[in-house]
């Protein structure tokens, strides 16, 4: 597969770009932030996502979706990133759907129609500490009757407050650090014993701390196999991480573009500041980092779609590289805007904030750098 978008993917890119820019540009984020929107995103927009077919991107055609892959999900996510569009796309249509794809038909029949229609929102209840450490999951799921009882706490559950269903990773055996013994559950958020406490984040998205107090679920809430949750979790994480990398890439690219535009127009010392070599060299370096990140993200997604055994390594490389490049982009962006870069009125600061939140989502640069070392055997 050549490492660029094919014609169909390019068409999807064009329509996603037009849609985000037209329906949900940065002004849309500001509007929702300023009215202190409870869920942090527009349900009406989520419906429009559905009309565009985006919500069913990873759902098989026989189940009413588009039957596309991670490359296509990434194409949409990059435009989401570029426009800072608030939506539950990554958690619901990408990571959530990918987990359900590994589960049974009953669960898919239950949730897919609502997701495709843009009515259902999913959130991922994985992390328990302040950093992403899925290997350290200790929340307990004990057998009870023909089902399970869940007790414990999850945090940084993005869109957890507005979600209809949570994908919860808990321990049915073993202890924190063990690879086996995890089980994934689909838990409806109105189940008794689930309490959620939402917090607005720096990027004005909303994430929840979720408490499970003796929440009982049926055996058919299990996604995949009991004690073998790591297989499903792996799929979920690969989809979520490569997706987050694509969205991060969009944030970095968007931030670079507005910065290039800005320095082409701002005059100091009687010259356009974009003509100063000190700035040119830094922004050209940034351009080169963004191009490398773009190739890396696309490579990871192609490898996932091909089912390559090295896909996981490349996903970590992509999350780390996109993270580094975009962190540089927003930092240089604010700096090159000068004083106005610090103001709320200019958009560049919004990019910096979204980048920070995405860095923490599903593993930051250090986390994935460590994984790369482990996968390479040292």
């Amino acid at each position: 597969m050549p490492l660029y978008l094919n014609d169909d993917q390019q068409m999807l890119h064009d329509s996603a770009a037009e849609f985000m820019k037209g329906e949900a540009p940065v002004a849309h984020l500001r509007e929702f932030r300023d009215k202190q929107c409870k869920d942090g995103f527009s349900h009406a927009l989520w419906k429009q996502f559905a009309e565009m077919g985006f919500t069913g991107i990873l759902i098989g055609e026989e189940e009413g979706g588009l039957g596309l892959g991670h490359v296509e999900a990434g194409v949409v996510l990059e435009e989401i990133g570029r426009n800072l569009t608030p939506s539950p796309f990554l958690t619901t249509a990408v990571a959530g759907v990918e987990a359900l794809n590994a589960g049974g038909k009953a669960l898919r029949d239950k949730y897919f129609p609502g997701i495709i229609a843009g009515e259902t929102v999913l959130a991922l209840a994985i992390d328990e500490g302040t950093k992403h450490r899925p290997d350290q999951i200790s929340m307990a799921a004990t057998r009870e009757g023909n089902g399970f009882k869940l007790d414990g706490k999850k945090q940084f559950v993005v869109q957890g407050g507005s979600a209809d269903m949570l994908i919860v990773a808990a321990r049915t055996s073993g202890s924190a650090g063990d690879e086996k013994g995890l089980t994934l559950f689909a838990v409806d958020t109105n189940a008794p014993g689930v309490s959620r406490d939402s917090a607005r984040l720096v990027d004005s998205a909303v994430a929840a701390h979720v408490q499970f107090d003796g929440v009982t679920v049926d055996a058919d809430a299990v996604i995949g196999e009991v004690d073998d949750g790591d297989t499903v979790l792996r799929r979920l994480l690969n989809a979520g991480r490569s997706g987050a990398a694509a969205e991060t890439l969009g944030v970095g690219a968007g931030s670079m573009d507005i910065t290039v535009d800005y320095i082409k127009g701002r005059k100091q010392f009687g010259e356009l500041i974009g003509s100063f070599q000190a700035l040119q060299h830094r922004i050209s370096h940034l351009y080169s980092e963004m191009e490398i990140a773009r190739a890396t993200v696309l490579k990871a997604q192609q490898m996932l779609d091909e089912g390559s055994s090295k896909a996981e390594l490349m996903v970590s490389v992509a999350k780390a590289k996109a993270g580094k490049a975009t962190a540089l982009s927003v930092k240089e962006g604010v700096q090159m805007h000068g004083g106005v870069g610090m103001t709320d009125e200019y958009d560049i600061g919004l990019y910096m904030k979204r980048d920070r939140a995405l860095q923490e989502f599903m593993g930051d640069v250090n986390y994935h750098t460590n994984l790369v070392a482990e996968m390479h055997g040292y």
Binding site: E271, H285, E289, A295, K299
Partner: protein, 397 residues
């Protein structure tokens, strides 16, 4: 099986059967590369490998067959490269003719020039060097002064080049000369001539690596015929239009030098963990070095994806024409950092400059040599200037 899968299987089988075992061992130094030419020297297996590959046209797999190439499609050439890498087959031939002059001739040459010059390049019979830089003209290459004066059926060349890599070992030179003093870019011609011509002399320059693959090259009333045969002009493209050829060739040169960033993409970490030692968890027992190694693994794998994407988009005509400058910049900077890390992981042992244990200080010499990557073929600063102007369209050209 699809045609490409069949091609992959057949290629792998053919390589297995034909690549001599010596050519599947890792290279131990620069002198393991095969440069060909009239005075070529070969180690065991090298000549055999060159000849078998040249016979199939696989020294230049994607050149047309009539010019000594393999006539492979883009996809097939990519598969050949992948299979060679997988089976650790060495490249049969290192050559400025293949990397630089060949692509320029394929693009700008006349049919007669292509038929005359390309097959000997593909077979490794003629070794070429590049006469671009002059003592006063490096980054500002178009200010070059070496003159070529039209004398009817020949030109007379006078001047000096510098940094001519392997000029003392090369058979022919592709040389930029000034044919019009009143124009800067539009007064340059791209000429081909034999280094054994009377009036050509070379003097090696010793580098900080102790190696001296580079020369000062002097031209003292060198007579260059206008034609080497019917239609085989010594000037490529047209007189005074050599800058177009030079720039096109630099694009290829820059992509080639950038390859450093993708070379040896296998992780160094595990190897160094075995040398430095491992902690109770099996990790490289030097957390800072381990972190740096892993960061470098990410940079190298990421750049390798970029190199693949660049190759694919370049061949499909989808990349920005100035993109090779970005590849050159990024690849060479990564390569330099990578060699810093190799030195640091090697510790005191790799400092031995002249000893059998270090194969004559190979690691240290390679480290020093990489410092030229961000200078030769245009410096990193110049690459960034080009990106700023041609890709980002920043003001102040």
């Amino acid at each position: 099986m699809s045609d490409l899968e069949t091609f992959r299987a057949e290629t792998a089988a053919w390589l297995e059967a034909n690549c001599p075992p010596e050519m599947r061992e890792p290279m131990t130094g620069e002198d393991d590369a095969v440069w060909g030419g009239r005075n070529a020297t070969f180690k065991p297996g090298q000549k055999e490998w060159l000849n078998i590959m040249a016979a199939k046209g696989w020294t230049v797999p994607d050149w047309p067959k009539e010019y000594g190439g393999g006539g492979l499609s883009r996809a097939e050439a990519k598969i050949l490269g992948q299979e060679m890498a997988r089976l650790r087959c060495r490249s049969p031939l290192s050559s400025f003719g293949i990397w630089m002059l060949g692509p320029a001739l394929l693009h700008f040459g006349t049919e007669a020039q292509k038929k005359h010059f390309l097959p000997p390049i593909a077979r490794g019979e003629i070794r070429w060097c590049q006469g671009y830089s002059e003592p006063g003209s490096g980054s500002d290459l178009a200010s070059l002064q070496t003159s070529a004066v039209d004398k009817g059926d020949h030109f007379v060349i006078n001047g000096q080049k510098i940094w001519t890599s392997y000029a003392d070992k090369a058979d022919w030179i592709f040389c930029l000369t000034r044919t019009d003093k009143n124009e800067k870019h539009k007064g340059i011609s791209f000429m081909l001539f034999d280094m054994t011509n009377e009036g050509v002399t070379t003097k090696p320059i010793v580098l900080i690596s102790g190696q001296s693959a580079f020369c000062e090259t002097f031209f003292d009333d060198v007579k260059v015929p206008k034609e080497y045969g019917e239609g085989v002009s010594s000037v490529v493209y047209e007189v005074n239009k050599g800058w177009d050829v030079a720039k096109y060739l630099l694009g290829h040169e820059r992509s080639m030098i950038s390859g450093g960033g993708s070379e040896g993409a296998t992780s160094l970490g595990a190897k160094f963990a075995d040398q430095v030692g491992r902690d109770a968890m099996g990790r490289l027992d030097d957390p800072m070095l381990r972190a740096q190694m892993a960061e470098m693994d990410i940079e190298v794998l990421a750049f390798r994806a970029m190199a693949e994407r660049f190759g694919d988009t370049f061949k499909a005509g989808l990349c920005h024409p100035a993109q090779p400058n970005m590849m050159k910049y990024a690849g060479t900077e990564i390569n330099k950092r990578r060699h810093e890390l190799i030195m640091s992981a090697g510790g005191s042992e790799v400092l031995e400059w002249e000893s059998d244990a270090t194969n004559g200080g190979m690691t240290a010499r390679s480290w020093l040599r990489t410092k030229a990557n961000s200078i030769e073929g245009g410096t990193s600063e110049v690459m960034l200037n080009v990106i700023s102007k041609q890709i980002l369209r920043l003001p102040g050209a």
